[in-house]
């Protein structure tokens, strides 16, 4: 993402606002925790010290402990990995699949484009979580299914943008000129269309990561994601929900981290958008 910013020469170089910097720092810490969670906590997220179950936040357990006596902070930190993998993985998958479908649809004959764009429109009418649920209904619950379901549910949105952009570029003078000069359409696609798509789609994807993380956590909360005792955020919330009357910390901290992650990615996304992405 930072690469993207430096590569864009178009915009005046104003320093980013504090909120954006904060978001970037937060995401940096998350990435670090995703790669090396042991740097942030000395505790084992699976270690169940049942005698310490449901103890409130303290120096030893900054986020308290859960119903099995596991350290909630360690579980949140180790859970980052799952959320990031699903968030970025699903978004990347959706981005690639959506771009391919959108470009194909934009370049194809009227009939093919008509059918494809119709299907995309119809799928767009469904909320992502319902689409993801349908995908899970077919491929069954689990960690890999979760990623696939979230990705597939997001494909139509990318496909639609990719298609519209492709149409615009296809009709632009330089592409028609190139075609008239006998340049192979595939070359045009590679040289003109895809680069033109990437900017807006990447900005969209930055914001999409947040949505994907929330969708995944929601599905996992419904029991359609990883197995317990995986420290996945949605699962932590789902496992702890019967203990909220006595232990509010089980819900509050994982949820706050989740919300902060989404805010950070969308803040960054909006910033990129404002700097001339879309």
């Amino acid at each position: 993402m930072t690469e993207l910013i430096t590569k864009r020469p178009t915009v005046t170089r104003r320093p980013a606002p504090a909120g954006v910097l904060l978001a970037a720092v937060f995401l940096g810490v998350l990435l670090l925790a995703g790669v090396a969670p042991w740097l942030l906590t000395g505790q084992d997220p699976l270690h169940a010290e049942v005698a310490d179950a449901l103890s409130s936040p303290s120096l030893e357990h900054p986020f308290g402990t859960d119903q099995s006596g596991r350290d909630v902070f360690a579980r949140v930190v180790y859970g980052i990995r799952y959320s990031l993998v699903i968030g970025f993985g699903a978004t990347l998958l959706a981005l690639v699949a959506g771009t391919v479908i959108g470009v194909v649809s934009g370049l194809a004959s009227r009939v093919v484009d008509g059918v494809l764009s119709r299907v995309i429109d119809i799928l767009m009418a469904f909320p992502e979580i319902l689409l993801a649920l349908v995908v899970i209904a077919v491929i069954g619950p689990g960690e890999a299914s979760l990623l696939t379901a979230v990705a597939l549910a997001a494909v139509p949105a990318y496909a639609r943008v990719a298609r519209v952009r492709t149409l615009v570029v296809k009709r632009s003078s330089y592409v028609t000129a190139a075609t008239a000069l006998g340049v192979h359409p595939a070359v045009s696609v590679a040289r003109h269309i895809v680069p033109n798509l990437l900017g807006p789609l990447l900005v969209m994807a930055t914001m999409g990561v947040g949505t994907a993380i929330v969708s995944a956590a929601g599905l996992s909360f419904l029991g359609m994601g990883p197995q317990p005792p995986t420290p996945e955020w949605g699962l932590i919330l789902s496992e702890g929900r019967n203990f909220l009357a006595t232990a509010w910390w089980i819900a509050v901290f994982p949820g706050l981290t989740l919300t902060a992650t989404v805010i950070a990615t969308s803040t960054l996304g909006r910033y990129l958008q404002a700097r001339g992405g879309a």
Binding site: A48, V50, Q67, S68, P228, P229, A245
Partner: protein
Amino acid sequence: MIGGTIAVLAVTGMLAGCAQPAATQDTTITFGIAGANLSAGHMDIHSTQLDVGSLVLRNTFDSLVAQDLDGQFVPWLAKSWEISDDGLRYTFELRDDVTFHDGEPFNAEAVKANFDHVVDPQTASAQAASLIGYAEEGGYYVDTEVVDEFTVAVNFSQPYAPFLQGVSLPQLGFYSPKVLEEHADELKAGGPGITVGTGPFVLSEYTPDQELVFTANPDYNWPAEGSEHQGVAASDELVIRILPEDSSRVGALTSGDVDVAADFTPSMADQVGDGFTTTAVELPGIPYSLYLNEADGVFGDQKVREAFRIGFDIEAAIDSIYFGQFDRAWSVLGPTTPNSYDASLEGSWPYDQDKANELLDDAGWTERDSDGYRVKDGQRLSARWIAWTPVADDKASLADVIQSDLKEIGFEIVRDVLEPAQYNESYGPRDFDLTDWGFSSPDADVLRSHLHSGGFQTASEVTKPQVDSWLDEAVATSDAEVRQGLYENLQQWNNEQVLIVPLFVPSEITVAGDSVTGLVYDLYGRPAFYGASTTVGG
């Protein structure tokens, strides 16, 4: 255990005398249960294998005999019965004044129609058929015979001791023969006009996953012998609310939305505070246990099984998770199982990680991989634990602890929580290393399905001739002492072989508001609402 087992029962029972049985107008008693799976085709007592069916439908279906709290059988719909000397024929003399909710008479024909329905393959009975002793091959049950209008006989090919036990349960209760004829395919869904029995309450409304409304049967006058309450049910209406979330049941009870709530855990009971009576009945039968598949995988080695059993601190876990209210189990039968429990096993396998480590070293699991797990011949010491959804919070915590403790001795547990259909796919071909459940039953014969070669709940397909012969002998004899001896052999055998690892003896916990009187509980700790009412406004 909460306040001793059976002693608690009497307390609520005796209070019945204080309340005026002649109910004031329109009295309703409400009962909250978890019951989430009831709607999944489990409203039919003849086919369901789930306890929730019995819990809900006991109010609508009567049995031939009742089992009192001492384990003795007393007359109910049968005035008396006789067992032939060879143990092959049970003859029941029926009451002649009993009618079904739809007005059909209860008689020998009705009993036959029901037992025929239970063993009919179309019924696909998952429990009632085995309670009656029926099996397609190697069963005990032969047929039911109408002797005269109010005399019925049941014939067996071999003596089958648990039969009276079976006919005392709601699963072998009686539908109106008219319903069996006209609505046989709707029984699993159930509902008014379909779930029709002879019991004190008539099902009048049913909203799946939400509630069941029962109205008092105005003609009812045939409670089991020894019932304090007589005549029509004490409350005019019984409403059973389905509240699958633990917190909703606690909330509904404390806010007064329901008068009685079942399926409580000790931690929930802990939350309700004053003004409520908690009843805990320690369940007979098989404690909540882990079932090890010794046919292949790591549990093929007895040393590994032994190390597994003592490798986690079960006592501390149970104490903490159940607030000291459940006892850890030592034997594969619960202490309250009649004529069978072997108390000598208590204390015989305490938690001992050092010994567990030694056993695993001896078994050749000496190397460790980068995650700290033991390795032998390039294979990790790892066992796959399958469970079906939903896993209760307490069981999940217990599993967390077991997994965490065993990791300390380098033993990996991989937990696979599966949907029932997927679970069956793994369970059927015995494709797992361990699985878990508790199986309450007031008869030690429950061990037959769990240890007998080819038994439905036997975790492996390994044949065990000695065990089979003990089990077969025990089911055929009605001599209490002989049975006790045989079941002690079986418990000791399991203790040496470590095939079933009992974890704790669960109690059925039910909490009632103090305004509720006349509630009585059966051997399973299930409340019966026949004599129960609330004293609203005095």
